[in-house]
Symmetry: C2
Subunit: 318 residues, 2 copies
């Protein structure tokens, strides 16, 4: 009998979501564990396995599964390894596909989490029918999946598409990135980047702001969104600052692969027009004339968990 | 009879070189005209035609030619147009392939000049056998041709790979680019960019320098090279400044497509290690740890005129 299911794993810096996916792209069940809780990769995989079995047994056991597709930060499509991921607890080179495959007893394939999201978007989401687009994931980090001519770009070594680690600030005051670099886009446009921007702006402005009432060390983009909705000028300033930097880099990305669209995905997209408006304004200002008005910026239209899980699962059918 | 030849046109901001190429990639004859001398595109094509006939007649006339491949700034592979090229005398959209085809009576295909150089490098040069590399042309402007999975990247609209127009300086003092943008790499790493850097450094330093004896408005990278070879510290400083900026952007480019190599082409490559050393040092410093020591930076090993002419000519065989 043809095995009817695959597992899709979306490993983020914070959560790891595992879903059961059928051949029509439906996520039948999902479960999750906290990524940071396991400092040993074997403990992580053991915990994931235990959780997985709770949803696998009810659909007939592991015999019903063709394989596992995993999207992980710095996941390498060619080698199956996770290599030197700055936002994960495991340093160096982790032979993730092999370890998963040994534990679960079925084949496992790995890609970058953002590449997996791009595949999900192309097959099921906003990029359906597009052959050239860039997916930008705004989460714990800033990831990217680049699609050219209908194919995810892996590059010479399998690691292409790390646009969160391009430089946006070359000044001596630039923020230091988790990867050790300076002034990377990720230090400004990730969840922690936005929190840091909020903290900096709140502590230097004399303006009245709703955000001052919150614990300044734990402000989230959701808090900033709520304040902006309530008419808070400082909250708008935080989105303008973040969106302007993002849009400026998007103009750079367009010079590279001339995509039809840039698709935004992840927590910050919930901020809607507050983040979208400054992104588009800044991108258009910085684009070469020949691209002005030609490149769409869109939000993903897949449910956040589903895009990455579905995208990752697509690897297991291949 | 199978037509044995094609024409390859390398249109630069300064010179336009036309060559007769045979099926084995030999350039049998070449001629050239000055690009800037013709403010009307029809005059340009008429002049090119007259020059071309002087080398075409001796090999048997236009009947011996299968077609024309042209590499031109902002040349569009999909439409055959040259569109809004900042360094050419013709503004707006020029239907170049159609006009050439009508004048010469054989098919004409167009691509970006740097994409043509990348094709030449892949088929005949330093990138032979590589499937992922980036070609950077350092000439009147700074162009780029990006090859991923063995194919030139054209993007959604045919204009992908304009890396000279990525931003390296975001400060208020950033140089203004020919395209209207601010702080683009081209303003610093092109021939005019280097001349401008030389002028700025010479007029602000109190150091003794051989370059001060030259006409400060007409210093070339050749002059700077000669001075560096003679031990001039200011000349070295000019190359260090230029190379550091280039290397910094190269690190950004690597995050995009993870190439096996970045290949440098054009006038400045004659400066050899004076430019190469700071480029490599800066790129390595700015690369994410996972790419350090893995990406080659090389000079083109084709003769300067040949790479672009051969690359362009390859379009005519397709």
């Amino acid at each position: 009998m043809e095995k009817p299911y695959v597992l899709g794993l979306d490993m983020g810096g914070t959560n790891s979501v595992l879903g059961i996916v059928d051949a029509r792209g439906h996520v039948l069940a999902r479960t999750s564990i906290k990524t940071q809780q396991y400092t040993d990769i074997n403990d992580y995989i053991a915990a994931l396995y235990d959780e997985a079995m709770k949803i696998i047994e009810p659909v007939g056991g592991i015999e019903m599964f063709r394989g596992i597709g995993a999207g992980a930060p710095n996941g390498n499509y060619y080698s199956g390894n996770i290599e030197m991921a700055p936002n994960l607890p495991w340093k160096g080179i982790v032979p993730f596909a092999r370890l998963m495959s040994e534990k679960f007893g079925i084949p496992c394939h790995v890609t970058n989490d953002a590449n997996a999201a791009a595949m999900g978007e192309m097959v099921y989401g906003a990029a359906k029918g597009m052959k050239n687009f860039i997916m930008i994931t705004l989460g714990t980090g800033v990831g990217s999946g680049i699609v050219i001519d209908g194919k995810v770009v892996y590059g010479h070594d399998g690691f292409a598409g790390e646009l969160g680690h391009t430089v946006i600030d070359r000044t001596p005051n630039a923020r230091i990135c988790g990867c050790g670099g300076r002034g990377h886009l990720e230090c400004y446009a990730s969840a922690t980047g936005v929190a840091r921007t909020a903290k900096e702006i709140i502590s230097t402005t004399t303006k009245d702001t709703l955000l001052r009432k919150l614990d300044i060390d734990n402000i989230t983009s959701k808090d900033v969104f709520d304040a902006a909705e309530a008419g808070d000028e400082v909250a708008k300033e935080i989105f303008d600052y973040t969106g302007t930097l993002l849009g400026e880099k998007f103009a750079d990305f367009v010079t590279f692969s001339a995509p039809e669209a840039i698709i935004l995905f992840g927590g910050m997209t919930k901020s809607g027009h507050w983040i979208m408006d400054p992104v588009v304004k800044s991108m258009e200002e910085h684009l070469m004339p020949l691209w002005r008005g030609k490149v769409k910026v869109m939000f993903s239209d897949l449910k956040e968990a589903d895009a990455a899980v579905l995208g990752a699962s697509a690897l297991a059918w291949e």
